[in-house]
Symmetry: C2
Amino acid sequence: MSKRIYNFNPGPAALPLSVLEEIQATFLDFAGTGMSITEVSHRSKPFDAIINDAVTRVKRLLGIGDDFKVLFVQGGASMQFAMVPMNLLPDGKSADYVNTGTWSTKAIKETKILGKTVNVAASSEDRNFAYIPKELSLDPNAAYVHITSNNTIKGTQWADFPDTKGVPIVSDMSSDILSRPLDMSKFGLIYAGAQKNIGPAGVCMVIVKNDLLEKANTGLPSMLAYKTYADSNSLYNTPPCFTIYAIDLVLKWLEETIGGLEKMDAVNREKAALLYDLFDASSFYNGTADADSRSLMNVTFRLPSEDLEKRFVEEATKNDLGGLKGHRSVGGCRASIYNAMSMEGIQALVDFMKEFERTNG
Amino acid sequence: MSKRIYNFNPGPAALPLSVLEEIQATFLDFAGTGMSITEVSHRSKPFDAIINDAVTRVKRLLGIGDDFKVLFVQGGASMQFAMVPMNLLPDGKSADYVNTGTWSTKAIKETKILGKTVNVAASSEDRNFAYIPKELSLDPNAAYVHITSNNTIKGTQWADFPDTKGVPIVSDMSSDILSRPLDMSKFGLIYAGAQKNIGPAGVCMVIVKNDLLEKANTGLPSMLAYKTYADSNSLYNTPPCFTIYAIDLVLKWLEETIGGLEKMDAVNREKAALLYDLFDASSFYNGTADADSRSLMNVTFRLPSEDLEKRFVEEATKNDLGGLKGHRSVGGCRASIYNAMSMEGIQALVDFMKEFERTNG
Ligand SMILES: Cc1ncc(COP(=O)(O)O)c(C=O)c1O
Ligand SMILES: Cc1ncc(COP(=O)(O)O)c(C=O)c1O
Ligand SMILES: [Mg+2]
Ligand SMILES: [Mg+2]
Ligand SMILES: [Mg+2]
Ligand SMILES: [Mg+2]
């Protein structure tokens, strides 16, 4: 038997055990090919079946049709900070960015490096990004409105998306992709590094509306143009086959074991509530995000002192509860509870937290 | 028992069985962490140990010191076609490119997309790239000389590298990286998509000399600047952890099981000779590359008719010899025999080829 911990890492993060077991079982001989999935050609029928299945599952989960393309792009979400404006922000136009934390700040920085014009439509920097801004000063002529739907480090999440009066929303959903249903009619493009909710690190999923693709900027290097990926089903060059295979298995788990995004959302709400209720009932644990901006994915909290926080993380680790340290830029504690974190994991954490408060409070 | 075939795919390609077995055995619990390697944080001690080990092994294998950086970059070799000139070709300078096939042609195309100046120093296009050019018209002021060391599709390889009078060579070594010793003093940068000689698809290894890094172009998006990777040990953002782990195991195999690049080279020469000797002794099988330009990695050949080639590939497949079809752009047959292809695999192929000639010749 392998030892398994409850893994609260922010990403790379826990994956469903059944997915890991299937990868392991088939690792030397994938689908009767006599090859590992790491050895199969990306120009083969077995791999075509995988990538097509993944695309179909994403579309079905999100309820989108042929007006969107689902792309697999390397370079992580960080590469998208540059690719989004390269492709979607034409010269002479500007884009609105809402600054809700570290990742939004980086998205803005990369856009400016390209010499493009950014309008910061709102920011919550005044209170260390502890909330999602309510008032946005949007430019009706903006090429797009960029939003970080879930702020992994600050522990905040957009509960609803704003009405942008027809300007397409571009959203970094790295830390909450496929964790809840979405009204996709509001979005022009969403992107997400795989390594939190949908698979191992090594690919970024980009879902883009055809009309944006059609008017995208031209003259880009092939690997930096969305069109290259859209025209080739992400097979212009060798894709990260193993990672896409693992993602396909996670998507299958999401559809067939969980039962889709409504069900996933309900479970995620229940999981997060167990922790937030504990904070609200205790003076020992305190959440860092405003109540109306709390993330269902990254639950950030503080203990009465940094010493206690250090001991908390250490003792949790000894109890096989891993990854609870807050991001180095903010300190404190953080429990990342993405789709694959089970209710049992949350329950184990809650039990540990109560015991730790009893003995240290 | 898993079924295993002899896999002659051009990439993704065969990996050493012992590497696959180790990944499989540790897949649910990596190094006692209680997590899969796909779930381990890239900011953790266990992952640091992996990436540092990989870098150290590459340097030891190639006999290079701290004057080079070993980087892991996403996007495959195709992304390097653009990143090389973005970083290393300053405005007002030009670069020399030797055109030896499909991949060189693409490298040239991407450089031109960027509006940069290319001098084609030589080309073997006149005879469908069946040879490596001997005469190069090099520009002493070029920023670099770009060479595709092994032409995966055309089956040709540079046996030696030219004297470029101090101008650094930049080489796409996707299909022969770490297959033989190199005199690294000639090179400013080498790059290789992992999926042929060193691991699964999903990362490109870039080995670059510090002096080129120091004078590299600035003002690039973070993910497109080599400096970003060099300054962060390839951990600026989330790297493809699983792929880097697999590469580290392949490097360990290369050092500890094979015994380094001299040994690997000797084995590779022996393997290729078995096939080329067969061609030379037979009028049924004929190599497509000039004798002095033959690749030790991708052995391209023709049979007397396309019908026979089709039957050859089909019957080979039935005999568990996979991936022998030539690239769709050239036809014919191709046996890709990278580092991980065993002598037993070559012997099985040679036996099959003799039998096929006997019954169809
Ligand atoms: C919201 C968000 N955006 C972007 C990133 C950067 O992702 P990557 O490491 O894939 O570039 C992260 C990583 O944690 C994130 O949480
Ligand atoms: C020599 C060479 N260069 C570049 C490439 C493209 O590599 P990638 O698919 O990693 O972009 C290949 C792929 O076969 C290749 O053989
Ligand atoms: Mg954040
Ligand atoms: Mg409280
Ligand atoms: Mg070629
Ligand atoms: Mg012959």
